[in-house]
């Protein structure tokens, strides 16, 4: 008789097959990895994904309740701090108002699996092809650009968010001065979550605090969605263009609810939705 833990030839074959299969999966190109992950998510994992969506919604409900309690306590304790309450109200109105300002062509979604360990710049969202989401749909919040849909399944989608190295947005200042590309700032430490506006012509100078918005060039992000504010210029000796550090308008770490713009909405533009501050 053979013990349950003793190794037979079949066991060895199974172990090696699993190890080899894992290595093959690891060595696939990112696009193929995503296709394989997508196939698993749409079949075997679909019920588990639904469970996670529900768990997230329950968590949101509990958190919201806590937040409301805190807001109520603050209001009672310090009625004289009306400006603070007004500011908070304004923030909430901004969140609610974005949907009504857009009016049409957007899909609300929750971050099902938030920025994860190992990949803090990718999130699974609770809306997919069934809700009209397609690849390269812009993902936005009341404060501005968050990211881009990288893959779509039936009921969920995968978004890359700031500061993902593959996320690039054609950008300019609110007044249309200084066209360039906003991408990740490749630094560690305190600057790690800043972005870079690269390729700005030497003749165009941007002041600190200048608001940067999507330029609409490229056709993915419509013109006028806030991206962030200029922090400072990055000095590069011998460069033929300027590069600016940009503080992103949205912190994906706090990401919970987002809006996904559909292709027709992106094509129609969002000029009046995010007015100048």
């Amino acid at each position: 008789m053979r013990g349950a833990g003793e190794e037979t030839r079949t066991d060895r074959l199974l172990v090696w097959a699993c190890v080899l299969a894992s290595i093959v999966l690891l060595s696939l190109a990112p696009a193929r990895q995503e296709r394989a992950a997508s196939a698993v998510r749409e079949t075997v994992v679909a019920p588990l994904a639904t469970l996670q969506v529900r768990a997230r919604l329950v968590q949101r409900a509990i958190t919201s309740d806590d937040r409301l309690t805190r807001v109520a306590a603050r209001t009672v304790r310090a009625a004289q701090t009306l400006p603070a309450v007004e500011a908070e109200n304004a923030e909430l109105r901004a969140l609610l108002g974005l949907g009504s300002a857009l009016r049409w062509g957007f899909v609300p979604a929750e971050a099902v699996v938030g920025p994860a360990m190992g990949d803090p710049h990718t999130v699974v969202l609770s809306a997919g092809a069934r809700q009209g989401v397609s690849i390269l749909s812009p993902v936005v919040a009341a404060s501005g650009v968050i990211g881009l849909i990288a893959a779509v399944e039936e009921a969920t989608s995968l978004a890359i968010v700031w500061p993902h190295p593959d996320l690039r947005v054609s950008a300019t200042s609110r007044t249309g001065v200084g066209f360039g590309i906003v991408t990740v700032h490749p630094e560690d430490g305190s600057d790690a979550f800043l972005l870079e506006l690269r390729g700005v012509p030497l003749r165009d100078s941007l002041a600190i605090g200048t608001e940067i918005v999507s330029s609409g060039v490229g056709g993915v992000f419509p013109r006028g969605i806030p991206i962030g504010q200029v922090v400072r210029e990055v000095v590069q000796g011998g460069a033929w263009s300027r590069t600016y550090l940009v503080q992103p308008a949205v912190r994906p770490a706090d990401l919970t609810a987002v809006l996904i713009l559909t292709a027709p909405r992106a094509a129609a533009g969002v000029d009046s939705v995010w007015p100048a501050p």
Partner: protein, 163 residues
């Protein structure tokens, strides 16, 4: 080993796998208990190495699909964790609760490490915090919960070494 005990053990494993996809996202803590690793080790300690590795691979692929950081990293690490759990107990130590606890803790830490290393986007302070703080704390909490569950599962676990 009676049939009711086997059914209770199987039901317990299913509950652990459900907790992985309900309680864990519900709490949403940085220091998280990995119910999946506990379930894997509980089964692996009573299974043949090949079956344990296959179960680890399957659970790993599911994890990789849900958190697409580095597809295949969890599959590889959980395959090795399952295999190690099934081999180590007979090879060296016997099926003690202490061995199971150590394997659970190490398994969780190595799984985290594999995902972080396979997906090289986490760098600098973020990487150091993950590898030096959050992952060890998660591994420790998983090991503590695993030790309790190992003690609870012992009376109802299917007998090993019999066929």
């Amino acid at each position: 080993m009676t049939i009711p005990n086997r059914l209770a053990f199987a039901a317990g494993i299913m509950v652990l796998l459900l907790l992985q996809h309900t309680l864990r996202p519900l709490l949403g803590w940085r220091i998280e208990v990995d119910w999946q690793v506990i379930a894997l080790v509980l089964v692996a300690l009573r299974s043949r190495p090949g079956v344990a590795a296959l179960l680890g691979f399957t659970l790993g692929v599911i994890t990789d699909a849900m958190v697409p950081a580095a597809f295949g990293a969890s599959a590889l690490s959980l395959t090795l964790v399952g295999y190690a759990a099934a081999r180590v107990r007979t090879g060296f130590f016997g099926a003690s609760a202490m061995v199971g606890t150590v394997i659970i803790g190490l398994g969780k830490y190595l799984t985290d490490l594999a995902v972080v290393m396979a997906d090289d986007r986490l760098t600098g302070l973020g990487l150091a915090a993950q590898v030096g703080l959050w992952s060890p704390l998660s591994a420790a909490s998983t090991a503590v919960v695993g030790a309790v569950l190992l003690a609870l599962a012992r009376p109802m676990a299917p007998a090993t070494g019999r066929r």
